[in-house]
Amino acid sequence: MHWGMVIDLKLCIGCNTCVAVCKLRNGTPKGVFWNRVLEEEVGTFPTARRIFWPVRCMHCEEPACVEACPTGASYQRPDNLVVVEGEKCVGCRACILACPYDVRALWDGDGGYFKDHLTPFEEQAYVRHLAGAVQKCDFCSSRIDEGLKPSCAEACLTKAIIFGDLDDPQSEVSLALAEPRVRRRLREELGTRPSIYYLT
C-alpha cells in the first residue's frame, strides 16, 4: 500500500476549494494552511499566463523531515503516509527547514481569525491542534482509515486531484499516471521521491 496523488495541472483552475475545504474539515488555526494553491506567472505579455500548483505534504518515500526530526515526532506509516505526533514534538522546527515544499507550520497558539475571541467553530476546531508543535497535511489519514478520500480530493470541483494506492495498477492514480502525459514530481533532485505527481 502506498497512498499517493496525481494532480492534473490542466484541470486545476485555481479556485482554492481544496484550501477552503481543508481549513474547514481540519480546522487549521489562524495562518496555518495544510495545503495551498501556488500561483506562478509564466511567459510575457501578450502570452503571459498563470499556472496553479496545488501543494501540500508530498508524503515522500524518502522524507527529509523524518530524517531531520530529532524526537521521532515525524514518522512514516507503513502505508507511506508521513505524519506528525504532536505530543512528541519539541518545536525545534528542523523539519520545517528540511522540507523542500514549505508545507509544515508551527502554530504558536495565538488566537483566531477574529481579534478578541474565538468563534464557536474555532473553539471546537483548535482543541485538535497542539500549540507549539509542528503540523501538516496527513492526507486526511482518519478519513483514509475509514475508506474515504482526503477532503481536498473529494471536494475538487474539476477533479484535478486524484487520490489512491500507487501500488495498485488498477487504482485511479495508477491509471492516471499511465496516460501518455508529461508527469513530474516537485524538487526530485533532492532525492525525496514525493508521492504526489503533477500532470502538465
Binding site: 494552511f33 501556488l38 530529532p70 524526537t71 518545536g91 525545534c92 514549505d102
Partner: protein
C-alpha cells in the same frame, strides 16, 4: 533580488527566506550555536595553552549558556529528553549527545586530568563546534547552508572565538594563562584561516545554485551588506588580524589584544547571524 523571487504572499510561487531559525525564538538558537562554538573553542584553546580554569569556563559556557539558550528556543522544552532518541538520522539528536559527552568528559578532564581524558574531551569539544554546521547543512532546500564547507568554517570561527576569549580574559586577568604567547600566534592563524575559508565558501555559493547566489547577493549587496562588511570583515577579521600581527611583532601593547579579542567575538556572532538570516529556500516548482 526582486520581490517577485521572494514573495511575501505565501500563495505565490517563489523562493522564501527562512525565518524559523532567526526570528522570534530563533534568536535563542543563534545564541546557542554561537555559545557552543565559543565554549568548545575555549576548551580546545585551554588545552592548547595549558590553562586549567579555561577548561571549566569552556564547559560552563557549553553546558549552562548554550544549554539554556537551546531550552529557551524550544516551544516544549520539558520534552527535550526526546531529542536523545534519533541519533541515527538527526544531527540535532547527535548534537545533544556531543554536548552531553563533552560536558561529562570535559569535567572529568578538569578534575582528574590524564592523556586519555584529554584526547576524548578534545574530540567531543571538536564535535561540539562542528555539529552545528552539519545541522544547517542538513537543510537541503537552503542551498546557502547545504555546503560541505560550512561545518569546517564553523570549526575555524569557533577556534578563533575560543582564542579571542582566552586573549581577552588573559588581558583582564593577567597570570591566568601559563603560555599566553602561544595565543597571539594561534589567533593570527585562526582568523587568517577563517578569512580564507569564508572567501572560498562565498565564492563556492556564487557558483553553486541560483538560490545560493541570491543568498550571497543579499549578504554582500542587500540591506545586510553593512553588517557583513563592518561586522564580519572589518570587526571580525581585519581588526583582529592587524592587532594580532602587530602584537606578534611587538608593535602594540598586549592590552590591545583585548580589543582584538572582543572584536573577533563580535564578528563571529555577526557572521553566524548573517548566515542564518540569508538562508533562502528555493521555489517548490
Amino acid at each position: 533580488m526582486s520581490n517577485a523571487t521572494v514573495p511575501r504572499n505565501q500563495f505565490i510561487m517563489g523562493a522564501k527566506f527562512q525565518r524559523d531559525w532567526i526570528e522570534g525564538r530563533g534568536l535563542w538558537l543563534l545564541a546557542a550555536i554561537y555559545l557552543g562554538g565559543v565554549g568548545g573553542g575555549l576548551f580546545i584553546t585551554a588545552v592548547l595553552v595549558d590553562w586549567h580554569l579555561g577548561l571549566l569556563v569552556g564547559v560552563g559556557i557549553a553546558a549552562i549558556l548554550k544549554g539554556g539558550a537551546h531550552l529557551l528556543f524550544l516551544t516544549h522544552p520539558w520534552k527535550f529528553w526526546r531529542i536523545f532518541t534519533r541519533p541515527q538520522t538527526s544531527w540535532i539528536s547527535r548534537g545533544i549527545y556531543f554536548v552531553t559527552l563533552f560536558i561529562i568528559f570535559g569535567l572529568a578532564y578538569y578534575f582528574w586530568g590524564g592523556a586519555t581524558l584529554k584526547v576524548i574531551s578534545v574530540f567531543f569539544a571538536f564535535c561540539l563546534v562542528i555539529y552545528t554546521g552539519f545541522v544547517l547543512m542538513a537543510s537541503k532546500p537552503i542551498a546557502f547552508w547545504n555546503n560541505p564547507l560550512l561545518p569546517i568554517l564553523f570549526v575555524s570561527v569557533s577556534l578563533g572565538s575560543g582564542i579571542s576569549l582566552a586573549e581577552t580574559i588573559n588581558i583582564i586577568s593577567p597570570q591566568a594563562i601559563a603560555n599566553p604567547e602561544l595565543l597571539t600566534g594561534a589567533g593570527l592563524w585562526a582568523v587568517s584561516i577563517t578569512a580564507l575559508l569564508l572567501f572560498v565558501y562565498l565564492v563556492g555559493n556564487f557558483y553553486s545554485s541560483v538560490t545560493a547566489k541570491e543568498s550571497l547577493l543579499h549578504l554582500m549587496k542587500g540591506q545586510l551588506a553593512p553588517f557583513f562588511y563592518v561586522g564580519v570583515v572589518l570587526l571580525g577579521m581585519i581588526l583582529p588580524l592587524a592587532i594580532f600581527s602587530a602584537a606578534h611583532s611587538g608593535i602594540v601593547p598586549p592590552s590591545a589584544l583585548a580589543i582584538a579579542g572582543i572584536a573577533e567575538l563580535g564578528g563571529a556572532f555577526i557572521l553566524r547571524y548573517l548566515i542564518l538570516k540569508v538562508g533562502i529556500s528555493a521555489p517548490v516548482a
